[in-house]
Symmetry: C2
Amino acid sequence: MSESQRVTILDVAERAGVHPGTVSRALSRPEKVAPATRARVEAAAKDLGFVPNKAARGLITGRTGNVAVIVPDITNPFFASLVRSVEHAARDVDLQVLLVDTGENRAEEVRAADELSHDVDGMIVMAPRRLHREMEVLGATPTVFVNRPVQSRASVVLRSADAAGEALQHLAGFGHRHLAYLGGPRSSWAAVERRDAVRRMSRTTGVAVTDVDVAAPTFEAAYDAAEQAVSSGATAVMAFNDQMALGVLARLSALGVGVPEQISLVGCDDVPMAAMVAPALTTIAMPVVEAGEAAVHLLGSAETVQLSGALVIRASTGPADQTRTGGR
Amino acid sequence: MSESQRVTILDVAERAGVHPGTVSRALSRPEKVAPATRARVEAAAKDLGFVPNKAARGLITGRTGNVAVIVPDITNPFFASLVRSVEHAARDVDLQVLLVDTGENRAEEVRAADELSHDVDGMIVMAPRRLHREMEVLGATPTVFVNRPVQSRASVVLRSADAAGEALQHLAGFGHRHLAYLGGPRSSWAAVERRDAVRRMSRTTGVAVTDVDVAAPTFEAAYDAAEQAVSSGATAVMAFNDQMALGVLARLSALGVGVPEQISLVGCDDVPMAAMVAPALTTIAMPVVEAGEAAVHLLGSAETVQLSGALVIRASTGPADQTRTGGR
DNA sequence: ATGAAAGCGCTAACAA
DNA sequence: TTGTTAGCGCTTTCAT
């Protein structure tokens, strides 16, 4: 067992007293072999510490046993959770995960996809801003897109529209009449879906919405933009994701604005940190575990699976500040 | 280019008017081929969209082009950063990263290592609690351990001792005389190293240290343990990692204990969140990027690379609360 | 500098 | 049910 790749199927065949082909069958399709021989082969393989050579197998079967996972930023807890879920689901179907972190760089996404597509059995692409046109190059490699519906390709979509609508109703119920919305990247499908939902529900509930432009969907950018939200006169702030909401929270705290006493705050994704800050963040919990599993199971198909987020009410939302409401 | 793996070296050979062996040489060791033929081969390969079949190449060379990275928890920002760094460094040397998340499960670590060791060119193991005995099975596969020195194996060690000592001096300079220390897992090399450093510096500086036991190195466990730290009468709290420090911060905030007015707080790792909370956390920044790069470059060697963390002073530490100091 | 030939370890027809 | 045979696509001697 100290030598890494010395025991071949021939050694096993010899020890079991059968021919190499039989060993191959016994190990890969046991039902096609007599129980007795199967037992002998298995024993021999175990004694010798036989491990099949994946390259040799792959050369003939055309399969590698690997699935590529392309993410924009593994240090983003949302993607980290997704990747973890994919990894566990992949293991259950004997696939290994080849991770690529593109650093939010679109050119790198395309390069990685092109390069890897030949060496994997499938790809799971979590790059939200990938252009449709660019992935024609993927050719025949089974690919599933996460959080971006793609025509004639498998995808798993995390819908937040309903939950975002609920959030608005929740705020309206607290007497809020004016919301500042910090949106995500316009090129992101999820960002568009969410903002549209907020707009729609704005009409229904009569809560006015002020859009606040944020340079990037990050803590820092939201920190910088938070003051605009305050000066808009809104009594509630909603952000595209939790990182941004956290940024707003930090800025409000620095400005001495009480949450939720003066301003209520809603995030999205329910990253671990959301529950940890004070006050704990009201947010939209996304079914990332299910999404990861779905992505793996979708490999090879062209279906779209829709999963929905759910509003999680915590301490960062409360009754509207009457001073601010009246003060307009 | 729509077919994934149809163009072989034979097609290229035919188009370039040379023999297959020459194509192979021209592509893998260009210097062993006449410039003219090389150019013809390269042109033919490009025209045809030739992509070498990794399985076939691996079968003969014994190399896979993959390196396995085994982490306890990819959703932990510390490991996520490390993995990202490894991934980028690996790409520079044409290696792909096979990610395994063991979910802090030691048995899973061993299983993954055994299984993968045959199918990768190397392994980078970030499991801090792995037993030495268990990795004999790794056999000849080049392996480097991160954050745990291992005899006769390559490793990259992130030393925090000096920075931890500095942190204590920093606190002593602020007049703190009593520190509560929330340690990490005893089985973790890093935890032991850090605690020893705190002990040593405790003698030097005369700052008394109360050890607070924490069930796990997590936000939640630290949140639960924080009250003990308060009731110990300490004016400063230091935690094994930032997640724990963040937990303490949340609890202190819930208890109405001011940071740093009443209690100063120091974390470790400098995860992104540390700079984002209010007050921003004084912590020890670990050179994770360098560590990831070192891990990749160490593959195949048996060296140990030592990297040191540095104290980052932010807003969570300040002058000792004289009330509490006197009150004992 | 290039051609020819022999496999790497395995699977999958096809026979028996 | 098991044996036999022919490669998968590439690299690498060994000749030339």
